[in-house]
C-alpha cells in the first residue's frame, strides 16, 4: 500500500522535511516567499507589493537575490528584525511606527545594482514624518530632476544616486550604485507608486 507523508514513521518524515527544506534553500533561482498565513494583513500587503515590484523590473535588471523581509523585535519576519538589516539606526524607523521593510536588490549583467527598500510605517502621517526626519533623509538633498513626477528627496553622490519618497503608508528608498541608470530609478519609482495604489 502506498504511504503518504503523514503515514511515514517519524524519522522518515523528518528526513523528507529536511530534504525539502534543503532543496528550497539551494534553489539557485531567486524566488519570493509565498505569502504566509501566519503574517498579518499589513505584512501580506508588503509581500504582494514586493512580488509585483519583482515582476516589473527595469529593463536589463533582474533580482540579484531573493528579497529580504525584516520586522520588529516583537514581530520578526523571515530575515529577522530591522536591526539585523541596519543595526542601531533602526531606532529611527521604529520611532515612526515601523512594522516591516522589504529589501530588494536588482542587478544587471555588468554588476550595476539598484536597491529598493519599502518601509511600512503604519500610516501616511508616520511615513511623512520619517520623510522629514533628517536622521533618515539627510538634510542636503539635491534639486529634483524634472523627470521625477513625485515629491521626492534626491541625493546625488557620484556614482551613487538615491531617492526617497512617500506613497500611502510606505517610505520608499531607491539606491543606485551607478548614476548612469538614474532614469531607471525614475521609471521604477513611478511603477512602485502605481503598484502601491493598486494594492
Amino acid at each position: 500500500m502506498k504511504k503518504n507523508l503523514y503515514q511515514c514513521p517519524d524519522i522518515h518524515r523528518q528526513v523528507i522535511v529536511i530534504l525539502l527544506i534543503y532543496m528550497m534553500w539551494n534553489s539557485s533561482a531567486p524566488c519570493l516567499p509565498s505569502v504566509s498565513s501566519s503574517v498579518g494583513n499589513d505584512e501580506n500587503q508588503l509581500y504582494l507589493i514586493t512580488k509585483k515590484i519583482s515582476e516589473n523590473l527595469p529593463e536589463g535588471f533582474k533580482l540579484r537575490v531573493q528579497p529580504r523581509f525584516y520586522g520588529t523585535p516583537d514581530a520578526k519576519l523571515e530575515n529577522g528584525t530591522i536591526f539585523d538589516y541596519i543595526d542601531g539606526a533602526g531606532e529611527n524607523y521604529i520611532r515612526h511606527g515601523f512594522t516591516s521593510v522589504a529589501h530588494i536588490v536588482l542587478e544587471n549583467s555588468a554588476g550595476d545594482r539598484i536597491t529598493v527598500d519599502v518601509y511600512d510605517l503604519s500610516s501616511n502621517r508616520n511615513a511623512q514624518d520619517a520623510f522629514e526626519d533628517e536622521n533618515i533623509c539627510a538634510p542636503r538633498s539635491s534639486p529634483l530632476d524634472p523627470g521625477i513626477p513625485l515629491q521626492a528627496k534626491v541625493y546625488s553622490y557620484t556614482p551613487d544616486y538615491m531617492l526617497y519618497f512617500v506613497e500611502n503608508r510606505f517610505l520608499i528608498h531607491i539606491n543606485l550604485d551607478n548614476d548612469a541608470f538614474k532614469d531607471k530609478a525614475e521609471v521604477l519609482s513611478a511603477q512602485i507608486v502605481k503598484i502601491i495604489n493598486e494594492e
Binding site: R64, F83, D84, I86, G88, N135, R140, Y157, H173
Partner: protein, 319 residues
C-alpha cells in the same frame, strides 16, 4: 607550604620582573593590546589618492602599495615576511578577517582591492586557503560583492551562519573561537553620528555575535567594548585595518578620502579614525565628533588600548 621569600630573593625577583616588563614593552612595540604604563600606541594614517577614483573604482596596484607601506611603517620592518612576523603571524596560522558589508543607504563594504592586498600580503606567510573572510551571514558577504567559497583552494568566504555555530561560553562565532588562530579586524570608515559616533573596529564585531546578543550593541556602550575583551578577540587579533578609501564623515554622505588607518591597538585605531573624520568635518564647517563612551570604557575598564590622544603616536603617510 609555600617557601617564604627572603628580602634578597624578593629584590632579585622584582628586578627580574621589572626587566621583563621593560623588554616586553620594547618587543610589543608601540601599540597592541598588551600595553604598559606610558607606552604609546602606534597608528598609521596612510593616504594614496591614486588608489581610488570618484566613481568608487580602485586601482589594485596603488591600493596594494598603500597597504604595504602602511604595514611596513606600523611594524617598522622592510619586508612583508618580517612585518607579519612582527605582528605574530606564523606559517601554521589560520586567519579570520572580519569585514563589514553594510549596504544600508550607502554601500560601505570593504573594497575588494584592499581585501586582495591584505590577502596577498598574508600569503607570503600562510596559504591563501588559511584565510577566512567572514561576515554575519554569507548573504551579507555576497551583498557586499564577495562570492562564497568554502573549497580547499583560495581564500575562503562565508558567513558566521555557516561557521559551525557559536561558542556557548564566549557567545561568539566558532570561526574565531575554534577555527582561526589569528584575527584581522577589517572595518570601514563609517560615521553614524549617534552615541556610537562611528561604526568602526568595535562595532564591526556585532557580526561575530550570537544573533540574540546583537541588539545589545545598539544602546549598551559597555557591551560594545566588552565584546572585544573576550579571549578569542582580545588574544587573537593581530591587526586592525580601517578601509577609508571611500568612507563617510557624516551619516550617509560618501567621501573619497583615499586612505587607510592601521594599528595593533583597536582603541587607538578607532580614536585616530574618528580624528580623520573630524579633520574633514572641520573643513566642511561641521561640529567635531566626540569620542564614544565605548572607547573610553574599552581603554579604562577593559584595558584594550589607548583612547587618550597623548598616548597615541599617529604616523601620517602620504603616497
Amino acid at each position: 607550604m609555600p617557601k617564604k621569600q627572603t628580602r634578597r630573593e624578593f629584590i632579585k625577583t622584582s628586578a627580574k620582573t621589572a626587566a621583563g616588563i621593560g623588554i616586553a614593552s620594547r618587543f610589543l612595540g608601540r601599540g597592541g593590546i598588551l600595553l604598559a604604563g606610558d607606552v604609546k600606541s602606534r597608528v598609521i594614517v596612510a593616504r594614496n589618492p591614486k588608489a581610488i577614483n570618484d566613481r568608487n573604482q580602485c586601482d589594485a596596484a596603488e591600493t596594494a602599495s598603500l597597504f604595504d607601506k602602511a604595514l611596513f611603517s606600523l611594524t617598522e620592518k622592510n619586508t612583508t615576511a618580517d612585518a607579519w612576523a612582527a605582528l605574530g603571524l606564523n606559517a601554521k596560522d589560520i586567519v579570520a578577517v572580519k569585514v563589514n558589508c553594510n549596504s544600508w543607504t550607502l554601500d560601505l563594504s570593504p573594497h575588494k582591492a584592499l581585501v586582495n592586498a591584505l590577502c596577498s600580503s598574508m600569503s607570503v606567510v600562510i596559504p591563501m586557503n588559511n584565510i577566512i573572510i567572514y561576515e554575519r551571514t554569507t548573504g551579507d558577504l555576497e551583498e557586499g560583492g564577495f562570492k562564497q567559497n568554502t573549497l580547499n583552494a583560495g581564500v575562503r568566504y562565508f558567513g558566521a551562519d555557516e561557521g559551525g555555530g557559536f561558542d556557548p561560553k564566549q557567545r561568539l562565532t566558532r570561526i574565531i573561537t575554534d577555527t582561526c588562530t589569528k584575527i584581522v579586524n577589517l572595518a570601514s570608515l563609517k560615521c553614524v553620528e549617534s552615541d556610537m559616533v562611528g561604526s568602526i573596529f568595535f562595532k564591526n564585531h556585532i557580526g561575530s555575535l550570537l544573533q540574540e546578543d546583537m541588539p545589545k550593541c545598539h544602546s549598551d556602550q559597555d557591551f560594545i567594548a566588552e565584546v572585544s575583551s573576550r579571549p578569542a578577540i582580545k588574544n587573537k587579533t593581530i591587526l586592525n585595518l580601517c578601509d577609508g578609501l571611500r568612507g563617510t564623515y557624516e551619516r550617509g554622505v560618501p567621501w573619497y578620502w583615499g586612505g587607510i588607518v592601521m594599528s595593533k591597538d583597536p582603541v587607538a585605531g578607532e580614536t585616530a579614525a574618528i580624528g580623520v573624520m573630524n579633520e574633514k568635518r572641520k573643513t566642511e564647517g561641521k561640529n567635531p565628533l566626540d569620542l564614544p563612551e565605548s572607547l573610553r570604557i574599552a581603554d579604562k575598564k577593559y584595558k584594550l588600548g589607548n583612547s587618550d590622544p597623548k598616548r597615541i603616536d599617529v604616523v601620517q603617510l602620504n603616497l
